[in-house]
Amino acid sequence: MRMLLFIGALLMQSPIQEPAEPESAHAGVPIVETSDDPAFLIGKGLRCPVCQGMPIAESPSTMAQDMMKRVREMLAAGKSSAEINDYFVARYGQWVLLKPATEGFALWVWVLPPLALSLGVVLALMHVRRLMRARRGATPAGPANGDGDADAAPDRAATGRADGTADPYLKAIRDEVRQ
């Protein structure tokens, strides 16, 4: 059954129509697609104009493959990766670089997110500190040494009536506890 499905999948493949190429392709330029291949590494950093979320080293579009061929030719001609990137940027703009440049206006892309995150953390910490301070201010202080007058103010704060006087009953209990 699996063999039948496999054969069926093979038969359903539509033929790919390649554009006519009257000249031979990059003669003498070796194609080695490994992770340490310099052309592959450069291609990983260049955006495909057709499949815009993908690098040209991975995009299946014909344009991406042609751009990779151009990268290989330029490498074979002795161009550096910076020169190759500059070539594509001159034609497609900074947009073609998958990693934004670290100069000019594009520098903000690198600077703003950590700046905004730091600001957010600072604001959050300030807010938490303010909340903790407010909670400490609302909590009454504990009993001090047995001076009845010294205890009167905290007693009033804890057990204050609406008229501002301390509850005598509660004050009596506190005095007895301290004794």
């Binding site: 000249e23 344009m63 751009m67 151009r70 034609r91 497609y92």
Partner: protein, 174 residues
């Protein structure tokens, strides 16, 4: 203290809203036109019917370079406009069609039933397309008599804009 919080919030939120608003004006998928105002990259390409065409040899008159393909429906839609413009301007403007990622039999079949007032050239491995920063088709470049790119149009050409630009170039030249 409340007004201070309001000022701080406004100082953070307002710039972000401005950036967001500016972002909505920009199409994130549009490829920038980097070559406007710059010299057109030279090319020497095999014509579909006729001799090899060199861009440098055409200096002295405006050129309209149109990248297209038979499988591109918008290209088919603007084909008539380009043919009409080429017939109108005659020898005053050189129109060139650059066939983009297509095959010779398909182009032959396409042009068999359509008029063609100007040469069509093949662009192997999209070299010229990459040199011009083409991201897809149709894309057209209007080049002045000195070989400078004055306008790039991504998508179907606007007839009024084409006429206005070419009239200015032709009059400026004469």
């Amino acid at each position: 203290m409340n007004w201070q919080k309001a000022v701080l919030a406004a100082a953070v939120v307002l710039p972000l809203l401005v950036i967001l608003g500016l972002g909505f004006k920009h199409d994130p998928h549009a490829v920038p036109s980097m070559l406007e105002g710059k010299p057109a990259p030279d090319f020497s390409l095999r014509a579909f019917e006729g001799p090899t065409l060199e861009l440098a040899a055409l200096k002295g008159k405006p050129v309209v370079l149109n990248f297209w393909a038979t499988w591109c429906y918008p290209c088919q839609a603007e084909h008539a406009l380009l043919q009409e413009a080429a017939a109108h301007y005659g020898s005053r403007v050189q129109f060139i069609g650059v066939i983009y990622q297509d095959s010779e039999p398909e182009v032959r079949k396409y042009l068999r039933n359509r008029e063609s007032h100007y040469p069509q050239v093949f662009d192997p491995q999209s070299r010229t397309a990459i040199d011009f920063g083409v991201a897809g088709v149709p894309e057209s470049f209007i080049i002045d008599a000195a070989g400078m790119i004055v306008h790039k149009e991504a998508g179907v050409l606007n007839a009024a804009l084409l006429r206005k630009t070419l009239d200015a170039l032709v009059e400026g030249k004469s």
